[in-house]
């Protein structure tokens, strides 16, 4: 698996888009994998009764997917130091979650990537990920 090194990362470069189909299976399996049994993440009847249109992603999964988005691009050598997410509209089952990202800054060894995860209703999560890369060998 390819891994990026410090010298390969440029401020302003853009990460490839990642699009995830939020099937009910994705919503439910990630909720359970994050040990979150809140019914709105797996029981569509309860979700609707509470005013949601369907089951939706839990926040622990949003954090996990943001991390995956960046490490898919950065490779196994990168180390994630910080994830700051501002939460927006729900990501409902049946929707599609698309991530875009841009490298915006570097401070010492730490690079910051701005990430935006959009669904059809708007921004589901926006924020920054700070990470380090292996030095060029």
């Amino acid at each position: 698996m390819r891994t990026l090194t410090e010298d390969q990362v440029e401020i302003g470069s853009v990460l490839p888009e990642l699009s995830i189909d939020l099937t009910p299976t994705v919503v439910v399996s990630t909720a359970l994998a994050t040990m979150d049994f809140t019914p709105v993440h797996h029981d569509v009847g309860i979700a609707r009764a509470q005013g949601s249109k369907d089951i939706f992603l839990n926040i622990l999964t949003t954090m996990g997917l943001v991390e995956r988005y960046v490490t898919d691009w950065a490779g196994p050598g990168a180390v994630i130091r910080r994830i700051n997410v501002k939460l927006g509209v729900p990501a409902y089952a049946g929707d599609r979650l698309s991530f875009n990202g841009t490298i915006v800054s570097r401070e010492a060894a730490e690079f910051t990537v701005e990430v935006r995860g959009k669904v059809s209703l708007g921004d589901h999560a926006t924020g920054t990920i700070t990470l380090t890369f292996p030095e060029a060998s």
Binding site: M1, I20, V26, S29, T30, L32, A33, T34, M35, D36, F37, T38, V40, Q50, G51, S52, K53, F56, N58, I59, L60, T61, T62, M63, G64, L65, V66, E67, R68, T71, D72, G75, P76, G77, I80, R81, R82, I83, N84, V85, K86, L87, G88, V89, P90, L121, G122, D123, G127
Partner: protein, 339 residues
């Protein structure tokens, strides 16, 4: 639904506000009380929970990676957990009985009790000091960091509550920390403001509701009020007579000087019907329509919602609630007033 534990996610949902929601607003008695409680909770400092039931382990990591679709081999190769998995280790899971006390709970409960029933998570920030290692048990420690508000938000008046969790590893060193912020708000059907970022139901384009009121210069104030979550009653500026439905001229004194009062939002069923047939456009049957008598002395027609049809009766106490029928129209409705 019970309030989520501090470390689980608050679902973006709203519940009806209790009727007797005390007046909030900056500097009000309630506002002072909430901030005093917040200060007390902050002063409690960090409260430690029990170590995680499961140590950091390969099956849970593998399961998590599979679910996320994350193929990064580094974690299992190096015997560490993915950083973003940090909160998973100390989730209560289905063992709700072991929910631990934290300084956050009292604060959230008090907000809910005072009418700030809606909850939506706004921020989640995690910092990872070092990877959590296989075999290690993590211990969470939670502190309440502060209450900000009241703020007028697109969802309604509310308070932002923030807390921090630090996870300590086997060596009692901090492995990761998290800042989590929620907005606790008094739900109101949103007015014509721009679609708020965090209004789940707002972004779903609704079918235009077919039963629209005609509005003219004599009635516009009423519908403007409804959009602001106010039930306005026309009042003659000269003789003070209240009047609903409103009109251009005071029938008592001929004055065309009009103003309005904002009703208390309470009412009593004066009469009602349960509509079964024929089908009504934009409505599901059966539904209840009532003539509601207000303590201010006028009557108004509206639907009774959040109540089984056979529980409705003349004399029943109601409180006003506001429902968005589509992206533009909000209608005042009535819900049973809890005793």
């Amino acid at each position: 639904m019970t309030e989520p534990a501090p470390m689980t996610e608050p679902a973006p949902m709203t519940e009806p506000a209790p009727t007797t929601a005390p007046a909030a607003g900056p500097g009000s008695a309630l506002d002072r009380e909430l901030h005093e409680l917040a200060d007390k909770q902050v002063a409690l400092g960090e409260m430690r929970g029990s170590p995680s039931v499961n140590p950091v382990n390969e099956p849970m990591i593998r399961h998590w990676l599979d679910a996320m679709g994350d193929t990064n081999p580094a974690y299992l190769d190096q015997g560490v957990a993915p950083p973003a998995m940090i909160q998973v280790w100390t989730m209560p899971g289905l063992r709700r009985d072991v929910k631990e006390r934290s300084p956050v709970d009292d604060m959230i409960a008090r907000l809910t009790d005072t009418g700030f029933t809606g909850v939506v998570a706004t921020n989640c920030e995690q910092t990872y000091h070092r990877p959590a290692r296989l075999g290690e048990r993590l211990t969470p420690a939670t502190r309440f960091s502060g209450l900000v508000g009241p703020k007028q938000t697109a969802l309604g008046e509310g308070y932002f509550a923030t807390w921090n969790v630090t996870w300590y590893g086997d060596g009692d060193d901090p492995v990761a920390e998290m800042m989590f912020r929620i907005l606790k708000f008094r739900p109101r059907q949103r007015a014509s403001e721009k679609a708020p970022e965090k209004a789940p139901e707002r972004q779903e384009p609704k079918q235009p509701y077919p039963l629209r009121p005609a509005v003219n210069e004599d009635t516009a104030f009423f519908w403007e009020g409804v959009r602001k979550g106010e039930l306005r009653i026309q009042r003659c500026s000269d003789c003070g007579e209240l009047r609903h439905p409103p009109g251009p001229v005071c029938p008592s004194c001929r004055s065309a000087n009009r103003t309005h009062i904002v009703s208390s939002g309470e009412g009593v069923v004066y009469s009602y019907v349960v509509h079964h047939h024929p089908p009504v456009p934009g409505r599901e049957t059966p539904f209840v329509v009532a003539v509601v008598e207000l303590p201010e002395g006028v009557r108004i027609v509206g639907n009774i919602v959040d109540c089984p049809t056979d529980a409705v009766g003349i004399g029943m106490s109601l409180r006003a609630t506001y429902r968005a029928m589509d992206d533009e129209l909000i209608l005042p409705m009535w819900a049973p007033r809890e005793t």
